[in-house]
């Protein structure tokens, strides 16, 4: 009887640990997918991934170098979407993505490489830098709370 109880308990522990690992992997997959969607959004001047994956709340701030967007609408309407016409092209790469998950909060760090051409001036830019993403789980889905990017001319 004792052996049976011990085996049952060990099995439940293994199942629970396995389930936790799978849940953690799913969280990482979801967050990675969101980051790729953000890349798509920036490259195509498309606000839809931002409206889908960002938590729209009063007090939201998105930092880029020495500036910020105040709120999700400001980010989409005054930054993401206008770049579609302002730039001939924009290539944005996130690499070396590191994801940290703590219950209902997650943060991700990435190396960035961004290249583009300004339509009006014809100037091109080629920069490398870093990005910080902060996430919160809301009703089972990860949502972006805050982003912070910075870069400098490629050396």
């Amino acid at each position: 009887m004792t052996k049976f109880v011990a085996i049952t308990m060990l099995s439940m522990l293994a199942f629970s640990s396995n389930a936790h690992d799978k849940s953690h992997m799913n969280d990482e997959k979801q967050i990675t997918h969101i980051i790729h969607q953000i890349k798509y959004g920036w490259e195509n001047g498309d606000g839809k991934p931002f409206r889908k994956h960002f938590l729209d709340f009063k007090g939201a701030r998105y930092f880029e170098s020495g500036g910020q967007n105040v709120g999700l609408t400001d980010l989409v309407e005054h930054h993401v979407e206008p770049e579609k016409d302002a730039l001939v092209f924009l290539n944005l790469d996130f690499s070396n993505i590191q994801i940290h998950i703590e219950d209902e909060f997650a943060w991700a760090l990435a190396d960035t490489a961004v290249k583009g051409e300004v339509r009006k001036s014809g100037k091109t830019f080629d920069k490398t830098g870093f990005q910080t993403f902060l996430f919160k789980k809301v009703d089972g889905d990860w949502k972006v709370l805050h982003t912070h990017s910075s870069s400098r001319n490629r050396k």
Partner: protein
């Protein structure tokens, strides 16, 4: 942390950091508290001692054993003969370790 850097308190600054803190600053990355303490912390302290910095906005959110801080500041002064006057942004992630908050990540930019 800001106070420790501005006043040149190396011990206090180091004590705020988790040992595996990741710091993004000026296009560079430091991947541990020791790396930051041995490389750029001293130059950051010298720089900030010469500057006047005013916090414009600061938001802190606590989610369980994690906290996030996002702030914007205005910094001005003269350093090595150059006048500086700019808006700076700071994002931090903190984690409660053994009852004490430790900084796990800092992203500074301007």
């Amino acid at each position: 942390m800001g106070h420790a850097l501005q006043t040149g308190d190396k011990e206090l600054a180091r004590a705020q950091l988790a040992s595996d803190v990741m710091i993004y600053e000026g296009g560079r990355v430091e991947r541990s508290a020791d790396e930051y303490a041995h490389h750029h912390m001293l130059s950051d302290m010298k720089y900030l001692a010469a500057m006047k910095s005013e916090t414009l906005e600061h938001q802190v959110t606590i989610l369980g054993n994690t906290a996030i801080s996002a702030s914007r500041s205005h910094t001005k002064g003269t350093y090595k003969g150059k006048e500086r006057n700019y808006q700076g942004m700071e994002t931090m992630v903190l984690e409660k370790q053994n009852g004490k908050w430790k900084i796990k990540h800092i992203h500074w930019s301007h």
